[in-house]
């Protein structure tokens, strides 16, 4: 028994090292006061790198842009997805299965392949270099999965509650706003956070659409900053930290709910 336990402990240590090392290394470099902290043991603790990226690096602007785009995407995606989810979870109509299959297939379309046509479309509509243009694109990208996930949450609300509302004389829209909406609120939060993360992390479209550096999102801003200060790794890692931390917090908070919704969406009729 003994050797097996030791082997298992070693395996856990190896796995955790591989898993956590990059994130830890990012933090160590970001908080290290040494000019270019390439050593494992930091020589102190400083916030100077963060001050530098926020001031000189203009990460305050980039992060604000990212926040605006991500919040817009989260709200828009959740609202549109809820309506669609109610339709596929609560109604029986022709082509319902086709709609569901389409939602799955569409998730597999490589978005990288759509950069060129969407760039030309957005150019024609004067939506290049606009945060709203990005929001619209990100809503479309996050929508298929958002509908798929919310469908599980809507299906989990018992039909009887809805019917009780009708018996009490409520119209469909009354039922929707006073019964269904509060009951699926947790699902809406999870969906918004998912869409938020999609928008926050996206790189290619933000990079292609935004030519004015005042409109850069944080992901694009990081590349821009890296181009200017290639050897200042402390600052590059501080910028990376600022981008990573919100996602990490959200992700760990919501992951269980997301996957639960996903599984429920997959198994219910």
């Amino acid at each position: 028994m003994r050797p097996a336990r030791v082997a298992r402990a070693v395996a856990v240590v190896v796995l955790l090292t591989f898993t956590l090392f990059p994130a830890v290394w990012m933090l160590v470099t970001a908080f290290n006061p040494a000019a270019n902290g390439g050593q494992l043991a930091p020589s102190g603790l400083t916030l100077e790198n963060f001050r530098f990226v926020l001031d000189e690096g203009r990460f305050d602007t980039f992060l604000t842009n990212s926040l605006a785009v991500a919040v817009g995407t989260g709200g828009g995606s959740a609202a549109i997805a809820l309506l669609a989810a109610v339709a596929v979870a609560r109604f029986r109509f022709r082509f319902r299965t086709s709609v569901l299959v389409m939602l799955l297939v569409v998730q597999m379309v490589p978005l990288e392949a759509l950069v060129i046509p969407l760039f030309i479309q957005a150019r024609g509509l004067q939506l290049l270099n606009s945060l709203i243009g990005l929001v619209v694109v990100y809503v479309a990208f996050s929508l298929p999965f958002a509908v798929w996930m919310l469908r599980g949450f809507v299906a989990a609300v018992p039909m009887e509650i809805e019917e009780a509302a009708y018996v009490d004389g409520a119209s469909w829209s009354r039922m929707f706003f006073t019964i269904l909406l509060p009951l699926v609120a947790p699902g809406l939060v999870a969906t918004s956070i998912f869409a938020f993360i999609v928008a926050w992390n996206e790189f290619i479209f933000a990079y292609t659409f935004m030519s004015d550096d005042a409109k850069y999102t944080a992901a694009v801003g990081l590349r821009y900053f890296f181009g200017l200060y290639t050897t200042n790794w402390g600052a590059v890692m501080a910028g990376s930290t600022l981008i990573t931390i919100p996602v990490m917090v959200f992700f760990v908070l919501v992951q269980r709910r997301l996957t639960a919704g996903m599984v429920a969406g997959a198994v219910r009729g």
Partner: protein
């Protein structure tokens, strides 16, 4: 789906418990009691259903399907130069773009190997590392398992963009950790070796990055599957004298075949179109044509060379490949009855 974290977070059944405990993971053959509840007919007002669907269908039609059609038509047009861009369309040239793409040495000697070999390496390593991690997690006590799972989730949450910069920093010539270690050990000359300019070293770093970012999804999904394997089966195998190796191949693998199918196919789809992790690497944005893959080649042709027609043709080749893989994925799902 929407690339890395969208992909990672937004992916199917990574499952760590919670609501999941109520729903069966492996399949739904047992007929969950929830089914019964729907004795009354569901809503049958098709007009309202379509009204509710309308915004979603409009958005998806305008921003996913229309561009998909447009990229296909553009692949048959001569769209080079800024004038074509200003017009928004080019002259029809038939299969010329495809002839140029499929006839180029760049495709067969560089781009395709960079895409296919790297994808195969990434998928195999992701699934192997993920499965090993899942088996390890399963053998831990619940509290330790929760802690290690949390650590894996944290790593998963690192966005592809920042993750890539961290790996660049680790392998940076001269002052990166790996360079310093290699110099200290005398493996490379002082001053260091630039791994980013060597095609093989470049993609070795990409593979490490992609596997690190992709294995948590596999680990958590396989773990959810492992936890559904009935203990009696394992016990029976032990009684029959099967060792751990034998039990894994004769009991676990056959039972979890659908789970492995799903994680393998999804990983294949993601790793085929990997973009950010290549594009952000030094030289990955087209500066070094030795390290282009299908995704970055399409992008560089379109936005670097201003050849939107050629770029579109490459994008179409990539899309068709992925849709073929997707159709396998859908058939697997249907066969397992996970889709109603």
């Amino acid at each position: 789906m929407t690339e890395p974290v969208a992909a990672s977070i937004g992916t199917p059944p990574a499952t760590t418990g919670g609501v999941l405990d109520r729903v069966e993971v492996g399949g739904t053959r047992g007929g969950p009691p929830t089914r019964r509840r729907r004795a009354r007919p569901p809503q049958r007002n098709p007009l309202r259903a379509w009204l509710l669907l309308a915004p979603a269908l409009l958005v998806l039609g305008g921003l996913l399907l229309l561009p998909l059609v447009r990229v296909t038509t553009m692949s048959f047009e001569d769209m080079s130069g800024l004038r074509a861009l200003a017009r928004g369309e080019g002259d029809f040239v038939g299969l010329d773009n495809y002839r140029e793409v499929l006839g180029s040495r760049q495709l067969w000697l560089t781009v395709l190997p960079n895409t296919v070999v790297v994808a195969i390496l990434c998928v195999v390593l992701t699934v192997v590392v993920g499965t090993l991690a899942a088996l390890l997690l399963e053998s831990l006590r619940p509290r330790t398992r929760a802690l290690v799972t949390m650590a894996i989730l944290t790593a998963w949450a690192v966005p592809a963009v920042t993750g890539t910069y961290i790996w660049i920093w680790i392998f940076n010539p001269g002052d990166g950790l790996v360079s310093e270690a290699a110099q200290a050990l005398g493996l490379v000359d002082p001053g260091g070796e630039n791994w980013f300019t060597n095609r093989y070293a470049f993609f070795a770093i990409v593979v490490i990055n992609v596997v690190h970012h992709g294995y948590p999804f596999v680990a958590l999904t396989v773990l959810a599957g492992l936890l559904t394997v009935p203990a009696e089966l394992t016990e029976a195998a032990v009684l029959d004298g099967a060792g751990a190796w034998r039990r894994f191949w004769s009991v676990t693998v056959p039972l979890l075949r659908p789970v492995f199918a799903v994680v393998t196919i999804l990983s294949t789809i993601w790793d085929f179109k990997v973009f950010t992790q290549v594009f952000l690497m030094p030289g990955g944005d087209g500066a070094n044509r030795e390290v282009l893959n299908l995704g970055t080649w399409s992008y560089v042709e379109a936005f670097g060379q201003i050849e939107y027609g050629i770029g579109s043709a490459i994008a179409v080749v990539l899309t068709i490949t992925l849709l073929l893989i997707t159709s396998v994925y859908l058939r697997t799902l249907f066969r397992e009855g996970e889709l109603t």
